[in-house]
């Protein structure tokens, strides 16, 4: 059984994103006969000579009628060595919200460029969103190589320019692949028309990217979801704390601190339906038993005792505004991080990332949909929270409307100028 890679695509319709995604699905034989028949029928109705693979990723009728993609769509394909969950997001400027959503869970971001146009404003915007969300790997698909006569120099120049930019943003791993999604060159099958290219095909690269970060490097974070107390004849005194390992490794015998309260205790058991474990890796859902009879409930965070999260009532972070609704300074909102939700007051809006120029500009007005900027919140009670750069799960939060429950913003504990600093390096 292989492992699982989550990736997100960004790019505009014109870059051929839908065609690339359609090509990946088609060439990995993830498109079945009835889906293909529907694509053939619609392609013929539109007077096309061959199947338009972009139709494979078309979604709702509302979108087809308006010729737009309104949201993140998830696609599934697999090879003998790995399965893929692809968050397919539209790349238009007004859909920053969707790019941020897709990138939040991705281990790899696919950025598309049209080889004729090279790195453009939108390319830089996509790379910036990937960097902001801490996506560890970025793959640059230099598409439409057929329209530049498969010219190696064109590819080299685009790849060099993008790599320099991406590394400047702090992206750890960048790989560029020259391809033609329309004809399938270097997507799944190696192109015979670019003999000068010796790197991996696009799919080979997706199969080779490491998904496994050494969890020993990270400190344990375990948000408590639910307290399990069967009070049954078989388990009269059982008390376990159900959750999933957000980062690090949970090991029997490890000392943990219960945050925000601060009491230290020891993991005495790791339980699952299939039997006890000695240790639990990141992402694993388990139930922990602890040495002391501590008062722990949903919302508490169990952290490595020697490397715990910061506990604070003053939260400053970078947010992407996700809703049409805005809130003003002094508004009451809810902040959710891990399994804890606390009341908060909006203290100030500080600055904003101009998504076109990618400059950081002063900004004191409420954020509007799709804006990315810095906000300061005062929390009604202490919240354990991490630096997003080191803890992608426990450094993230949502801002929620108290009245109707709308998710207003996605937030990360990081300073916007970290991005600027990185860019100047």
């Amino acid at each position: 059984m292989g492992d699982l890679l989550r990736l997100a695509t960004a790019g505009s319709v014109d870059d051929g994103k839908s065609t690339l995604v359609g090509r990946l699905l088609y060439d990995t034989k993830s498109v079945l006969a009835d889906q293909l028949a529907a694509v053939d029928r619609v392609s013929r109705e539109r007077g096309l000579t061959g199947p338009d693979l972009a139709l494979l990723t078309d979604g709702l009728r509302a979108e087809r009628e308006q010729g737009i993609t309104i949201d993140v769509a998830y696609r599934y394909f697999s090879t003998p060595t790995r399965s893929f969950i692809l968050a397919d997001t539209p790349g238009h400027v007004q859909y920053t919200r969707n790019m941020v959503t897709g990138a939040s869970t991705a281990e790899l971001a696919v950025v598309l460029v049209d080889a004729r146009n090279g790195v453009v404003e939108q390319t830089r915007r996509h790379a910036t969103v990937a960097a902001l969300l801490g996506v560890p790997h970025v793959a640059l698909a230099v598409n439409k190589m057929d329209l530049v006569d498969f010219d190696e120099a064109v590819f080299d120049s685009i790849a060099k320019e993008f790599e320099a930019y991406a590394v400047g943003l702090g992206i750890r791993d960048v790989v560029a692949v020259p391809l033609s999604a329309l004809d399938g060159d270097n997507v799944v099958e190696r192109s015979l028309r670019m003999p000068w290219y010796s790197g991996p095909t696009f799919l080979e690269h997706l199969e080779a990217v490491p998904v496994f970060v050494n969890p020993g490097d990270e400190a344990l974070r375990f948000p408590v979801q639910y307290v399990i107390r069967p009070q049954s004849a078989e388990y009269p005194d059982y008390r376990g704390y159900a959750g999933h390992v957000a980062s690090g490794v949970a090991k029997v015998g490890d000392q943990v601190v219960v945050q925000p309260a601060g009491r230290v205790t020891t993991i005495t058991g790791i339980d699952t339906f299939d039997g006890p474990l000695d240790e639990a890796l990141p992402g694993r859902s388990v139930t922990l038993r602890l040495a002391d009879d501590v008062d722990i409930s949903r919302g508490d965070l169990l952290s490595a005792a020697d490397d715990a999260a910061e506990v604070t009532q003053d939260l400053k972070g970078t947010v992407c505004w996700l809703a049409e609704q805005t809130v003003s300074v002094r508004s009451r909102v809810l902040v959710k991080s891990g399994t804890r939700t606390v009341r908060a007051l909006v203290q100030s809006f500080n600055e904003r990332l101009d998504i076109d120029s990618l400059d950081i500009v002063p900004h004191v007005e409420p954020f509007a949909l799709n804006e990315i900027g810095s906000v300061t919140l005062r929390l009604a009670e202490p919240l354990p929270i991490d630096d997003y750069r080191t803890h992608r799960h426990s450094g993230a939060f949502l801002i929620i409307d108290e009245a109707d429950g709308t998710t207003l913003a996605a937030g990360m504990v990081l300073a916007l100028d970290e991005l600027r600093t990185a860019r100047c390096l």
Binding site: D3, L60, D71, Y74, H244, L281, R284
Partner: protein
């Protein structure tokens, strides 16, 4: 219970990363626990179909050693396969669950819904489902929908917000980031929860095999009296078939999905074990819904329309 040998279990527990099924299982368990932690009155849709069987198995794992902390609900079209109802009742009994039945027949008898001329009852499930949600004050309904099934489902959230009419508005759905789910809703609204969102049909089968979970027998090859309608093999029965010049044949078939008898088609198959089904699904040239669901063939946007009306 488990088919995992001791050696395999040790290998799994000492691996340096989780495999695909481990990741999917943990993600689903996380979702079950979030809902139990944040919502007041969840219920799990349990039809005796394979996806709902996987869901129930995951729910048991999520709360072990405590029992599953919510009831299960079956939306009963009245056109059931005996084998599936028997499986449902036995499972509910063995696990000591509370079963809520939302009956399409009762809704027809009381005039809440009207029988369709084609005899298909799948679209009629929406009214009894919504009635049961209101009557029982359920605020979260676990469904077995998967994003790989169909286009409209590909855009579905894990926590899907429904208004007081049970309707799904794609534009009102909340973005879902990281592993932070937002279960807040106004009175009268409820959430549909899809813990299997990221599973594919093949994942479901591989997981059923790995966990050695039993299934109703109709999922495996057997001889059955069927007739051909709209290119699908349907089970002959009192629900309304065969009609006109439709002819009954005895064929070796199995079901890939289980739903209302009137619109769930069987496929020709010799697959009589999980292994053989996995081999068959792996090489199949038709999606599960394309092969076996008449209701999804009605129009290109059939599922989108039904979801807007409050369907699963």
């Amino acid at each position: 219970m488990s088919a995992i040998t001791a050696a395999e279990k040790i290998a799994r527990d000492h691996q340096d990363h989780l495999d695909q099924l481990d990741v999917l299982e943990s993600e689903s368990i996380h979702i079950f626990r979030e809902v139990a932690g944040e919502l007041e009155r969840p219920v799990l849709l349990f039809s005796g179909g394979k996806d709902s069987i996987v869901m129930l198995h995951l729910a048991r794992k999520a709360f072990w050693p405590a029992p599953v902390p919510f009831p299960v609900m079956h939306v009963d079209t009245g056109h059931n396969f005996d084998e599936v109802i028997e499986y449902r009742d036995r499972t509910v009994d063995e696990l000591g669950l509370r079963l809520v039945v939302a009956s399409v027949q009762e809704a027809i008898d009381s005039g809440r819904v009207r029988e369709r001329p084609d005899g298909t009852r799948n679209p009629l499930q929406t009214v009894p489902l919504l009635d049961a949600i209101v009557d029982n004050k359920f605020d979260a309904v676990f469904g077995g929908g998967r994003r790989d099934e169909e286009k409209a489902r590909a855009k579905e959230r894990v926590f899907s917000l429904r208004d007081e009419f049970g309707a799904w508005d794609p534009r009102r759905q909340r973005p879902e980031l990281w592993d932070l789910y937002n279960g807040r809703h106004r009175p009268g609204e409820h959430l549909r929860i899809f813990p299997l969102s990221n599973w594919t049909e093949l994942d479901v089968w591989r997981y059923l095999q790995r966990e050695d979970v039993s299934l109703p027998s109709i999922y495996f090859a057997h001889d059955r009296d069927v007739f051909l309608r709209d290119g699908m093999w349907l089970t002959a029965g009192a629900w309304g078939g065969p009609q006109g010049d439709e002819v009954i044949e005895r064929r070796r078939i199995r079901y890939r999905t289980v739903g209302d008898m009137s619109c769930t088609g069987a496929v020709d198959s010799d697959a009589s074990t999980c292994d053989e089904v996995i081999a068959e699904v792996g090489s199949s040239r038709l999606t599960e819904r394309g092969a076996t669901r008449a209701d999804d063939r009605m129009s290109e946007a059939a599922m989108e329309d039904r979801k807007r009306e409050g369907y699963f």
